[in-house]
């Protein structure tokens, strides 16, 4: 069985499927960050804005990923582009929720102290709020990234390509080695994403915060 699975990885179309999967996930994630972060920054100081963002995020989370991808089919047609739009829509909620709560939960006393030291609004954002909220923001991006890699597997159902193609091929042709090859590749990609973004999250946690976290525990 193992050698049969390895044969699937040696197929000429495997790198193409892998590439499609990575491009789908990465582009969707980047566009989602580009949409969610400015929104979170704009509403960071308004209560209503934060409430709206969190509610939109929560409702967004309740919509099954399969539903979003399937709905893209009648609305946007079949193929890579509509899968990309659907995946972007799926990637936004976790980033938006974490970024807006992370920015809002920066201790008011710290911001007051910074203001007292004469920092401008922009300086408070870049030197105080963003570094302190960074771990929470990156946790949101990590959740979103892992979820996007998983949902990209479903792109195959609307002709979006990716590693899900192998799972569908193996399932419909009763080729267990193709099915497993696809599943294992997707699983490894997801675990790499989880571990990689976890490292990124730690790298972006300011040193001072790490010390504070250790003391707190």
């Amino acid at each position: 069985m193992l050698s049969k699975i390895l044969e699937v990885y040696a197929r000429p179309d495997f790198p193409e499927k892998l590439r499609e999967h990575v491009v789908l996930s990465l582009v969707a994630l980047l566009v989602a960050v580009a949409i969610a972060m400015p929104v979170a920054l704009t509403i960071r100081n308004t209560r209503l804005g934060a409430a709206i963002a969190i509610n939109i995020g929560n409702v967004g989370r309740a919509v099954p990923s399969l539903a979003i991808l399937a709905l893209a089919l009648p609305l946007l047609g079949i193929g890579f582009a509509s899968a990309l739009v659907a995946l972007t829509a799926l990637a936004i909620p976790p980033i938006l929720i974490n970024a807006s709560t992370g920015l809002r939960e920066v201790n008011k006393d710290i911001i007051d102290a910074a203001r007292g030291m004469g920092l401008s609004g922009g300086q408070i954002l870049t030197r105080i709020q963003l570094p302190i909220a960074a771990p929470v923001i990156f946790a949101g991006i990590r959740t979103s990234a892992v979820q996007t890699v998983a949902s990209a597997t479903l792109a195959t159902f609307i002709g979006g390509g990716g590693l899900g193609d192998l799972i569908v091929e193996g399932y419909s042709r009763r080729g267990p080695e193709i099915l497993l090859a696809g599943a294992i590749a997707v699983a490894i990609l997801a675990i790499i994403t989880e571990v990689g973004f976890g490292a990124l999250e730690r790298a972006f946690t300011p040193k001072g915060l790490k010390i504070a976290q250790k003391r707190g525990r």
Binding site: A62, V63, L66, L73, V149, T153, L154, F157, I184, A190
Partner: protein, 233 residues
């Protein structure tokens, strides 16, 4: 990608009729209601089985701290495997047939991380003074667990059940691909028959179910936290 069949499909789908109310009326009792019931069965069965596993594992992890990191490592890996891949791996195991069983196994696996983590967090949230007081009153360790720690941990455990349930209701739709039934069957049929009404029916009902479960469990969570309610007013 340059499959002529796919291009044809797109032409058909460009017809703007998204919701065929006639079809919804005609197939309500035959297709939609059973799919909805099947979805409720899959989701709640999975969360219930996961709870039976997660509660003891969570209690043990909270007591014997060394157990906790390996438990979160294993359940964390399970949690990050994409559902379609996990379904595919499960049905590749000899003796596991397609149907609801592998779907429920996978959904249980996904719930474990959230439920165990919240059980441990819930027990951790009990103040040590409270446990000292209970011990001073002469309660045994078992009594402390069942009468003090678990009741006080309950709101956080219910919060975990809420997150797990909402997640599981969404993932369960994908289970229809391996004949697990539920609302995903409507979505997949809609994709295959190029019939948006079925996709929308499945999507709206699954989302609605997730939101209703979320609101109900949030209500339960608040109800179980009378001390927080008292503080707020």
């Amino acid at each position: 990608m340059s499959n002529p069949g796919l291009l044809l499909l797109q032409d058909v789908l460009e017809e703007p009729e998204l919701i065929d109310w006639e079809w919804l009326r005609e197939n309500f009792w035959e297709d939609i209601v059973p799919a909805f019931q099947g979805h409720i069965f899959l989701s709640f069965m999975s969360v219930a089985i996961a709870l039976v596993i997660a509660l003891p594992v969570g209690v043990i992890s909270a007591r014997y701290r060394k157990v906790y990191p390996p438990v979160t490592f294993v359940t964390g890996i399970l949690y990050s495997i994409p559902s379609l891949a996990l379904f595919a791996i499960l049905i590749s195991i000899p003796g596991v047939a397609i149907g609801p069983a592998p779907v429920i196994i996978a959904l249980v696996a996904y719930s474990l991380l959230i439920l165990i983590r919240n059980t441990v967090a819930g027990i951790d949230s009990v103040p040590p003074e409270t446990i000292d007081a209970a011990r001073g009153m002469g309660l045994t360790n078992r009594q402390i667990l069942f009468r003090v720690e678990l009741p006080l941990a309950l709101p956080i455990i219910v919060a975990g059940i809420r997150i797990a349930t909402v997640t599981i209701i969404g993932i369960a739709t994908i289970g229809a691909y391996i004949n697990g039934g539920g609302l995903g069957a409507l979505i997949f049929d809609g994709i295959n028959r190029q019939f948006p009404t079925m996709i929308i029916a499945g999507a709206v009902l699954a989302t609605g179910l997730a939101i209703v479960a979320d609101v109900l469990l949030l209500g339960l969570e608040r109800y179980l936290r009378p001390w927080a309610r008292a503080r707020r007013t």
